[in-house]
Symmetry: C2
Subunit: 434 residues, 2 copies
């Protein structure tokens, strides 16, 4: 006798929508940290976020139905923080600190909802834009990316047979486990799931996180995904993102104010957070420029997250700077999170191990590596480089230079001005895969 | 919200026994065909079957708990043919023929139960014996083998973590699918699941059968497992086994009667069955001897199943014999089923395709190939060469010579006598892996 849960089965066949975003905690932790500071200091700033598909060869609008996309985005707008989520945010300790979120902020968060979106189809791509108060538009980045990426996965697998799907996931699991087995050989590894935004699907990310937890034990620090961290009793991991210096820079009225913007961000940040949350993201306008003009107190921060330079080169530059400031790198932390996969993690680990505190953020190549797993290869299952970036602040254009020119965003005129102000570093364009 | 079927979950955690054999149809089809003839012609013959582990290096009794083994064997003895199973046996057509089972036989079958067993532990092995009426002892072979093999699998995986298990099955699926993808390239393939006795588990065999059905379509002819054939609406496949000539030979009173025994079997068989069920198993006492003394009418049978000679060599010998009898091999069938796997299936297919009708029985390497799939290799998951053979008939010893001396069974003195009577062929011992 086979016991079938009839209600579940009927539900599976009749539901109108399989929501991709079912919780406002299904986002990256750093968004909540940044949101609290933005809520505290920049409640009236208007910031526009815009989806940008850097993999132009993939015509997303041909892959995903507009009606389905709208249904998912509309559904996400109906989601609110639940009572138990609010209790967890208030009562949990993050990075060892309790009450990291202020009661007034949590009070405000209770009624939070994602703001309206603007969607148009153009030339095989979706133009997806979020205009409005920074406190609201910023919260779209992760769910919007997760929605589009999961809709792509679903579309790619729509014509697969039952056993083809079974084997596809079987192979994906085997592939992922092979990677984890390699990581398992690194005794002092510290690694984190950073894969929410470009994940294959929510359920797949959850599988990956739980598998890492079982296999790597305490070497797996936790997940940037707040919901998964809560559900799996892991640390929620993350600090801050490029949007902070980008907005601060766009608001700067003079070139000198522009040059100071990245440090202004840090000054504000340390007014709100301490300890392990003091991780510098130095590459928004080029790491070498950042280090050249950085005040001495930046060396007191816990660590750096080089996010667009080649890991070894980028890490070495930061370590040199620490030593110039009279600081021993062995007391400092480097977090690597730019398109990492097992090869680069191993190489970076072997290079830095013992010379600095190390940790890795493993993103797209953890939660969306379905290359070569479909019984008949499905190219539309391959991840793409989709981002959601700040493009305007109070009507002024926003810019990111990055250590990798392929990752620069902004209008050409403004990019030119920023390059002049920050000095154009000897950056090497690397192909951006994910 | 996650919907959990509470009753199922509680059941999973409280049941006393997870039965391996839940149906008397969970056996090979040829057992039922042979049983009907034995019931018709040899109801009073006493036949002893005995479990033999040809992989002596594996100490089964150290791997499997005796209490668990007894519980499974005892449970199998409580199983009866159910009403719907009886209806299906009576109403289904097999190989295109209806009413292949006579009403009086089915009437008798209704009360069938597996007879007592004798179990002892000796030197790391289980001595498992079935003594009694042939009509009953013969039905233990397949369930007894399936029980021991599945208990081995369960024991091997007892200490695996949740995700380790998940990945183990994921890899097994991927490995199996890779094989099927290779077979999919053979346009005129005809292949059958013969993997019941040495399967990893019942559920795994079912997965394999359903996967083959989806991927290979009509090139997958069906399963030797009657229960799976019924459930998946596939053909039940099989004809006859070595036990028939072994018993007939053991009963022979003179050397000449011994020499004629294999043909006596065929004479009796064709009184009960026709068409595609007329498949000769020629190797019990050596294929070359069998062909040398075979009466002309054997060439009228549908085909041969060479079961211990190397496939190409064995097949060519039979084709030569057909041609000597003035028969065109292209109208005849060769069934290959001895330890086949994708390499040997491909090679045999390429060799014979277009020159003879071909079909493959895929056994252990289909349903129990877990080599290299566990995250940390588990050698006790590897299949062993476990057989359950006739050892005595009405108190007289039974013998099998086979084309492969490594597969011979019987007392040395009797083997010697059989070799003299049948003539010892130039047989080459091949390692028996499964």
């Amino acid at each position: 006798m086979v016991a079938t849960d009839i209600a579940t089965r009927v539900w599976n066949h009749t539901f109108k929508l399989d929501p991709i975003v079912r919780s406002l905690l299904d986002t990256d932790f750093y968004k909540l940290l940044m949101l609290q500071m933005v809520w505290g200091l920049h409640r009236d700033t208007a910031v526009t976020f815009r989806m940008i598909n850097r993999t132009r060869t993939v015509r997303i609008a041909d892959q995903i139905d507009e009606g389905e996309l709208r249904a998912q985005l509309d559904h996400a707008r109906t989601v609110r923080f639940s009572k138990r989520e609010m209790i967890w945010l208030a009562g949990n300790s993050f990075y060892g600190s309790t009450q990291i979120f202020r009661p007034a902020f949590l009070q405000w968060l209770r009624d939070f909802e994602l703001p309206p979106y603007e969607l148009e189809k153009r030339d095989g791509q979706y133009e997806l834009m979020f205009r409005g108060s920074w406190t609201h538009t910023m919260m779209w980045e992760i769910p919007a990316l997760a929605i589009i990426n999961e809709l792509r996965s679903r579309a790619a697998m729509r014509n697969a047979g039952r056993f083809e799907l079974d084997v596809l996931y079987a192979r994906a699991k085997a592939k992922m486990w092979d990677k984890v087995a390699r990581l398992d050989a690194l005794p002092n590894l510290r690694i984190t799931d950073f894969g929410t935004r470009r994940r294959h699907s929510f359920l797949w990310q959850r599988w990956c996180v739980e598998a890492l937890k079982e296999k790597l034990g305490s070497r797996f620090l936790g997940s940037s995904n707040v919901l998964l961290a809560m559900e799996a009793d892991l640390e929620a991991i993350g600090t801050n993102a490029h949007e902070l210096p980008m907005v601060y820079a766009a608001l700067a009225r003079t070139d000198e104010a522009l040059r100071q913007a990245p440090y202004e961000v840090l000054r504000d940040w340390q007014g709100w957070y301490g300890g392990n949350l003091l991780v510098v993201l130095p590459d928004t306008f080029g790491t070498s420029s950042f280090l050249r003009h950085a005040p001495r107190w930046v060396a007191d921060w816990t660590g750096f997250r080089p996010d667009s330079a080649p890991p070894i080169e980028g890490g070495e530059a930061i370590m040199r700077w620490w030593r110039e400031q009279g600081v021993d790198p062995r007391e400092k932390l480097l977090v690597f999170s730019d398109g990492m996969d097992v090869d680069s993690i191993e190489e970076t680990y072997r290079h830095f191990e013992g010379r600095v505190r190390l940790s890795f953020g493993w993103g797209t190549n953890l939660t969306n590596d379905f290359r070569g797993v479909a019984p008949a290869e499905i190219p539309s299952l391959h991840p793409i480089s989709l981002v959601c970036k700040v493009t305007e602040v109070n009507g002024r254009p926003a810019v990111k230079l990055s250590d990798n020119p392929a990752k620069a965003t902004g209008t050409p005129i403004e990019i030119e001005r920023y390059r002049r102000v920050f000095g154009s570093a000897a950056d090497i364009s690397r192909e951006v895969l994910v």
